[in-house]
């Protein structure tokens, strides 16, 4: 295999794995990724709520 192939494969694994892992960690923490900004958007606050719901 050429070196570039190896690089690309590693990159892919890292990216895909990283995204999936981060999503799962965020879900456990209760954070949500929706493309909105919580500090400025006064009505976006899914952060702690899911955690409380999960713990019940």
């Amino acid at each position: 295999m050429q070196p570039i192939e190896i690089i690309v494969i590693i990159a892919c694994v890292l990216i895909v794995g990283g995204v999936i892992a981060t999503s799962i960690i965020n879900k456990k923490k209760g954070k949500n990724s929706c493309g909105c900004d919580c500090a400025n958007c006064s009505s976006c606050s899914v952060c702690k709520n899911k955690k409380e719901n999960n713990e019940k």
Binding site: G35, C44, S45, C47
Partner: protein, 748 residues
Amino acid sequence: MLRFALAGNPNSGKTTLFNSLTGSTAHVGNWPGVTVDKKEGVYKKADKPIAIIDLPGIYSLSPYTPEEVIARNYVLDEKPDCVINIIDATNLERNLYLTTQIMEIDVPVVLALNMMDAVEKRGDKIDEKELERRLGIPVVKISALKSEGVDKLMERAYEASQTARKGRTVIEDTALKHLISDIQIALDGQGVLNPLFHAVKLAELDELEVLMHKEAVNMVEAFKKTHIDDTFGDDFEALVADARYKYITKYFSPALKRKNKDKFVVTPSDKADKILTHKIWGIPIFLAILFAIFHLTFSENFLFLGGLLPENWVSLKGTAFEGVFGVGGINSPGVTLMRLVELLTGTISDLIAGWLSTSPEWVSGLICDGVLGGIFSILGFLPQILVLFMFFSILEDSGYMARIAFILDRALRKFGLSGRAFLPMIMGFGCSVPAMINTRTLADEKEKLATVRVIPFFSCGAKLPILTAISGAIVASFGVGNVDLITYGMYLVGIITALIAVIIMRKTTLNGNPPPFIMELPAYHAPQFRNLMMLLWDKAKHFIEKAFTIILASTIVIWFVSHFDFAWNFLPDDQMQNSILGGIGQLIQPIFTPLGFGSQLTNMGWVFAVAALTGLIAKENVVSTLGTLAACLVGVAVDVELDGGVLAVTKIMEITKIGLPALLAFIAFNMTTIPCFAAVAAAKSEMPDKSKFKWTLVFWISTSFIVSSAIYLIGTFWWTAFICLAVAFIVALFVRAYDKKVQAKGEK
């Protein structure tokens, strides 16, 4: 670390003050057990950092809404070191109503007189020293917007927090005073904290107090029997409210010196309001404003000047910027920006394709077709998403939206909603998630559920690429229509579907009367440029973040899964139908036949089914998947002239031989079906009841199938319109019958 709580009416500038105190340290969480915002941050300008907690905006501490309960319990149970009560100085009396209640708690309180600039503009004056003397708590003038007086406020709050404070009440009615003091003594004897506050609430027979202090209730009941007030009878709640306002008017209002003794002054805000909420012109103006927004964002024939201009005047044919400013007609600002981005991405793609020309086939395939083809197909839409978002933010920030809710309330009531449901729905045009969370302002559970369910039909920013790419492709290939008209039309389809769905829901499973609509109408004010820019920057950041994480990962996975078959052999582009993805796609493809993009398409037709499926992760994926697959199928990833999502869809259209009605059905399907996982999670968190959530999923799937197949069938076989109408009629009859039955049951 000291903890200060911010309390005040909604629209008093609390959020602005909170932001200026905490800056980027602000962090939004949630109050346990309830679905309300909890905002915390740190004030770092003092010697030691002080924690700031922003309590929800409330009008009173009586348990009318969850927000009031939260604020009240926080101050009573968490014992902050100081409560900063922020007051909108332009309506002093109503704001002070809350103050008199906060003051009954044994906690240091400091008053922040906000919006002093507005007061001074009117020529009025407030003697804050006089107010301080009469209230007995420190009073500081501030302008949260201009960050004036904020440091002084924090200094005085710090001073106040160093000394304990005993609650004080303004209720002067002698009989009531005796009762309250009796209860207070009793509670104090039991070691209850904040006895005065509880005593006053008990005299009102406040629901929460009654549960906590049952013995004291007997005292109140006994008292009631012996003492009937002339005006209020035994309604102590009315008596207490009345007593508060009497005191406020008598002792606190004199601190406000009006320039204009005339009770009802006309301000510039009033003048604007007269036009914008005019009895006859109000709604047409609103619709015109909405259309203008769409036109500025999506139109490829700006101001409809297309026919009037000399040919090729705008298209800059032959130059590097060909097509950017228009082809035929002039491009609107939104579209121009999109073309510029596409020019950029096109150039980058070519560059990278050049670099990789010597690499193994699969590497260049993955990177050029898969990754770049996918991501660049949606990146072009970022400008339009931002432009749309900006316009809606301006409408909301200026206070116009609240006024529209007022106008539309009567109309919305016919659908079983109140005017207040309007705001979350409009927010849905930006992103469904904050919109669903905003439904918390709807006190009525059934109205809230109905609203949450239809919010995805108000196509969010992520669905915008789907609308624009397909509309653009339709116009380019079939030569019919205008991009902005088709887009506007499809948005309308979403809205109409939402309204019909709400009517049906409200008449059947979520039957109920529209909830009360007593709402403050804040004055208009010019939106803050700086805040707007910060908001847009943040939105852009998030979009790009999302594109280079989730969407990137998705395109990689899709490329791999479409280039390997089940035996792990690598397949070249033209054999995609034999891949894993192709296999899955062809399996589910038949489901979509009634919608026009199922088995009736060519052997590549499964791409639509797959694209829709990837939309579950993020709606941007629908176009990026089409982009990736199109790039593979065509061979050349990128074309400088007309780049991005539109080209991808055009190519797919050619290959799959999909028809116009089916394309529209595809748009409609994606607009009304299950939204992205983030929105699904948001919806779930707003519906504690699991069964309601399951039905919501069913609702989304069935609505999307019904609407899309209707569009496809009527579009293809026009006579099916009659069948659809007949079905609709029968359904309407059923719904009416059900409604009558439920109403009759309710009246028994």
